[in-house]
């Protein structure tokens, strides 16, 4: 591989990290919020796919991509609220309910999404952030979607709010000790319902990014497990919204590896490079499991960490 090829791959991975990481970031922030309340939602993969389809359909029929983003959030909110409501019933297994919502979201998206595979909907326009550089590759890499900045801003706000606001304290308390929250007179089920619904909203917005920005079209293979990887990413980021940003960027770069190697004509074994995010996730899970600091920072009520 020559230096020029290397630079192309490098720029493509930086650009890819920014583009590919956005859906990861939204799902991870949503999952982080839900898990902070002591409940796990494995079904965000379903929210992501359903959100992507709804965003595309709404953008196509209304002509406004931002309306599509909002509708995707609404669809995710509905799925999340349903998850939260079902999980408050006694004896219901929240991991299994997550699996069911994964298949429900996917099923609904494929069911209603059939007519939208062909037509092209108006996409979200990107902000050219690379104007300072004369290099066209840099300019291309720095075509950043506004949703990326929204995600980063949201991460900062969440990080601050979890520490410094009453709502943040309530959420953390419900997630760390249901018994003491109950003793304080808090409505645990309501807090968890709201946290799951809000998490579902964010995952839906992440889906809108998939269909309206990058890759930027609706098809049935749009999200292959990204919603699920984001769940693992939250464990890796130890339930800290700021670390979620870094983790999402890392995953985005891994996800961009396959396409950028193909861009320089390296086709051998591209299946493996496309599988890089899965392998990375697994590696990170192996490395971070049983880590003492992770166990300390985990919400105590979280079933998956017990």
């Amino acid at each position: 591989m020559s230096l020029v090829d290397f630079l192309i791959v490098f720029y493509a991975m930086i650009g890819g990290a920014i583009r590919v990481s956005t859906p990861f970031l939204f799902v991870a922030l949503g999952e982080c919020l839900t898990e902070k309340s002591g409940r796990i939602n494995l079904g965000l993969e379903g929210n992501l796919i359903f959100g992507a389809m709804v965003a595309y359909a709404v953008s196509y029929t209304s002509g406004s991509p931002w309306l599509g983003v909002l509708a995707a959030g609404g669809a995710g909110l509905a799925l999340g609220a349903a998850h939260g409501w079902i999980c408050k019933l006694p004896k219901v297994n929240d991991i299994a309910v997550g699996l069911a919502f994964m298949s429900l979201g996917t099923g609904l998206a494929f069911f209603f999404g059939k007519p939208y595979i062909q037509p092209s909907a108006p996409r979200l326009s990107s902000l050219p952030m690379g104007g300072w550089s004369g290099n066209p590759q840099v300019q291309q890499a720095l075509q950043v979607n506004p949703l990326f900045f929204v995600g980063i801003g949201l991460a900062v706000v969440l990080w601050w709010a979890l520490r410094n606001t009453r709502a943040g304290l309530t959420l953390r308390m419900v997630g760390d000790s249901a018994a003491s929250a109950r003793a304080m007179g808090l409505n645990i089920d309501l807090v968890r319902l709201l946290a799951t619904a809000a998490g579902g909203f964010l995952a839906g917005v992440g889906g809108a990014f998939l269909s309206l920005s990058y890759p930027g079209s609706w098809n049935e293979g749009l999200s292959s497990g990204q919603g699920l990887m984001a769940v693992a990413l939250v464990i890796f980021a130890r339930w800290n919204p700021l670390r979620c940003v870094l983790a999402a960027l890392l995953f985005g770069a891994a996800g961009a590896l396959g396409p950028s190697l193909q861009a320089v004509g390296l086709n051998w074994g591209y299946h493996f490079f496309n599988a890089a995010p899965y392998i990375l996730t697994l590696g990170i899970m192996v490395a971070s499991a049983r880590s003492k600091s992770a166990a300390q920072e985990a919400p105590r009520e979280l079933a998956i960490m017990k």
Binding site: P90, H271, A275, Y278, V286
Partner: protein, 374 residues
């Protein structure tokens, strides 16, 4: 899991133990609650259909026609039930020891690929087909067992959450299989759809007794009975169920929890790998992308509907197979997308999970103390 506190269970006295033997709530519950859930999901799906302006009566009668009404449709349903039994078992067995393992799809794909790949060199070595077929099945099972055993090992050795790791392993398995099928093992003749070299007719698993159902169904039946015996009548199954009920207690009793987990995962992988073998040797005749048809994921639903009971997996797999079989008919006659069955299955799955909340709380049954099963 659920936040509500269940009442403390007291050790049963002689009187309650005697009463438990009577056909009481305990025996009726696992029958009426899933059936009620199926009924409820039919109602919910009918509302969904009505909202779309479709006729639910037509829909369910088409399912009857496509899945049950004629010998042809029954055979079609049984044909699809064969891999579902095996993948259902692949979820149910680890579930008994408390593992939520989703890796059946990956083990099926890798098992099927292995079966297709080992067959030809064995044939070239001059082995008879009667010997090659069992060898194909065994290697497929071994590869599946190793693949799913990996998730169990990661859980035991490193505490990695098995649900997420097994699903990631599935994506990795499909990537490995695609790489091998499009690369080293590709049949140069397969231009449009990369595949491995087709198996000769002597290496195909035949249909049973003049039906169109292949022997995979019989294998699934035998394995289901066998695994039911193992899980309910052997000390291995007893130990596994104890570990699934209370991990700490099992460890305290000195049970080899890690080895039990590994064994359950390996059994599961073996079942899924065997399903892959039959998909290759009985249906496709070669390994290609069609192997990842979602049987591994549908097996999760089968196992949940069967409440992780290996014997009940069989009829449930036939039911889901019939739904699958009628999908094409529904698609053509009602002009609905092929994802219709996906939505229906998800609705069934969800209602079934919600129905869990009724165990021990059915208003029309009388419960004794300590019978509240959670």
């Amino acid at each position: 899991m659920s936040s509500a506190s269940s009442p403390e269970t007291t050790p049963p006295g002689i009187v309650t133990r005697l009463q438990e033997r009577l056909p009481e709530a305990r025996l009726i519950e696992p029958l009426i609650i899933p059936l009620g859930a199926l009924l409820a999901s039919a109602v919910i799906f009918s509302v969904f259909l009505l909202a779309l302006g479709k006729n639910p009566v037509t829909f369910f009668s088409l399912i009857w026609t496509g899945g049950f009404s004629s010998w042809f449709s029954v055979q079609n349903a049984l044909q699809r039930a064969a891999p579902l039994i095996l993948t259902g078992l692949a979820f149910a067995i680890p579930a008994r020891i408390g593992l939520t393992l989703l890796g059946a799809e990956g083990a099926l794909v890798l098992g099927g690929l292995t079966a297709a790949v080992v067959a030809l060199p064995l044939q070239a070595a001059g082995l008879p087909a009667l010997l090659i077929l069992p060898l194909m099945a065994l290697t497929a099972m071994a590869v599946g067992a190793v693949w799913m055993g990996l998730a169990g090992w990661l859980k035991h050795a490193r505490g990695v959450n098995e649900t997420i790791s097994s699903l990631l392993l599935t994506y990795i398995a499909i990537a490995i299989a695609s790489f091998l099928i499009e690369g080293p093992f590709r049949d140069p003749g397969s231009a449009n759809k990369p595949s491995t070299q087709p198996l000769g007719f002597d290496l195909r698993v035949s249909e049973m007794f003049g039906t169109s159902v292949h022997w995979g169904l019989a294998a699934g039946l035998v394995l289901a009975v066998l695994l039911w015996l193992v899980m309910t009548r052997s000390s291995f199954g007893f130990a596994a169920r104890i570990a699934g009920g209370n991990l700490r207690a099992a460890q305290g009793q000195g049970l080899p929890v890690g080895r039990l987990m590994l064994a359950c995962c390996a059994i599961a992988g073996g079942c899924a790998g065997l399903a892959g073998f039959f998909e290759v040797a009985a249906i496709h005749g070669q390994a290609n992308a069609s192997l990842a048809a979602g049987y591994g994921f549908a097996g999760i639903l089968v196992a949940f509907l069967a409440r992780q009971n290996p014997l009940v997996v069989v009829p449930v797999a036939v039911l889901i197979g019939a739904l699958d079989a009628s999908g094409g008919l529904v698609q053509r006659r009602m002009e609905m997308p092929d994802a219709t069955m996906l939505v229906l299955q998800a609705v069934i799955f969800l209602t079934l999970l919600v129905s869990d909340t009724f165990y021990g709380r059915l208003p029309f049954l009388t419960y004794q103390r300590g019978e509240d099963r959670s």
